[in-house]
Symmetry: C2
Subunit: 226 residues, 2 copies
């Protein structure tokens, strides 16, 4: 176990490219000799803290993003659908309550349930075009993720607490300190040195840097072909 390389994935469920990165890394943690650490954080804080601007402000870039996500979601086999009003979903409504809720689930129920809740939140915003800001929306996602009524109640009681707010803030600050300017951000700890990879398009390079092999976004299918 001690030879496993630690790979941190910083993500926010408001970010569609984070969903791609999340699913790929969840597949590869069973293929590569890595210890994957999921780090929910707040993308709004990253954009503000780094002075970065979202891609939506350049019309050609925004239009491309739609094509790019459609092609990538098919190739990566991640069931993505653009919401009717992506601007509203991403920038007006945002993800602060959702990411606090994810953090509360991690705090109270652990990483496995947090992972499932994250996926259900992505499905809501990036497939079903549903809200992820209201308590009822968060409960619904948690129920689909398999949390019991009492677990959901506990997470809902905790997600507005100072402790959870601070935990999310710390995670966001950790990401900024490591050089984040957007999500997903992958940080590989190789020989005690963090190596940062931004986006969902550096897996092949990352594999090369950590001494593993990239088998495409669906390694199980690739492996069965070998």
């Amino acid at each position: 176990m001690s030879s496993r390389k630690v790979v941190e994935l910083f993500y926010d469920v408001v970010s569609p490219y984070s969903w791609l990165g999340f699913e790929v890394m969840c597949r590869y943690r069973n293929v590569w000799n890595i210890d994957l650490k999921l780090r929910p954080a707040f993308l709004g804080g990253i954009m503000q803290g780094s002075g970065n601007k979202p891609p939506g402000v350049v019309p050609n870039k925004f239009k491309y993003m739609g094509h790019d996500l459609r092609r990538l979601s098919e190739y990566f086999d991640v069931p993505m659908q653009m919401p009717a009003n992506p601007f509203e979903a991403m920038f007006e409504k945002g993800s602060l309550p959702a990411m606090r809720f994810v953090t509360a689930v991690q705090e109270k129920e652990g990483d496995i349930k947090m992972e499932k809740v994250s996926r259900e939140l992505w499905k809501r915003i990036w497939n079903e075009d549903k809200d992820i800001t209201q308590p009822a929306s968060l409960s619904e996602a948690a129920a689909k993720a398999g949390l019991s009524d009492s677990e959901i109640k506990e997470a809902l009681a905790a997600y507005t607490s100072q402790k959870v707010k601070d935990k999310l803030k710390t995670s966001t600050q950790d990401a900024l300190a490591l050089g984040a300017f957007g999500f997903p951000m992958l940080v590989c700890h190789v020989n005690g040195k963090p190596q940062m990879f931004f986006g969902s398009d550096r897996f092949e390079l990352m594999a090369h840097c950590i001494g593993e092999q990239w088998l495409g976004p669906k390694p199980d299918k690739a492996a069965s072909k070998l």
Copy 2:
């Protein structure tokens, strides 16, 4: 020949990611069943026309770009070195004379010499930290690319002509009309429909879309391993 898919590569020698894309596509035109069309264009015009901002304005993004380029240039086997003052090289001095010269070489001497001159200009700015704006710099690059004295003289006489200026402008406008907001931009013509891929990190996806196989950035070495 008629079954070959046309792939256009829009590039500017001021862009390091364009250099990566250029070398990879020059390797793959011998591996994939494609007809590669090199389209020199002016990145400054793309940024202005699309309203995009260069990555250099966000400190974390700029810092990352340095790491990313160092890792990618090693992995792609493209001999890149960051200039001492990348801001000055990229944004203050810029590439308008260089891209007009490349366009003049294409006009007068054809695509093969244009390709070689482009590569020598990239080497100057992105490896040797040398100027690419002065006539003497352009001559030197052209001489290294194997152009004769008379060919260089001809290109230098043509690169400030209205015809060459207009040709570069048309190419830049073509890129904008296809949805460009930066370079490199690859446009694959599949069943009469253009499919656009931005950057040097969509080759695997692009291969999937045109029915070819991605063998990594050095296909010759990969092929000899099979």
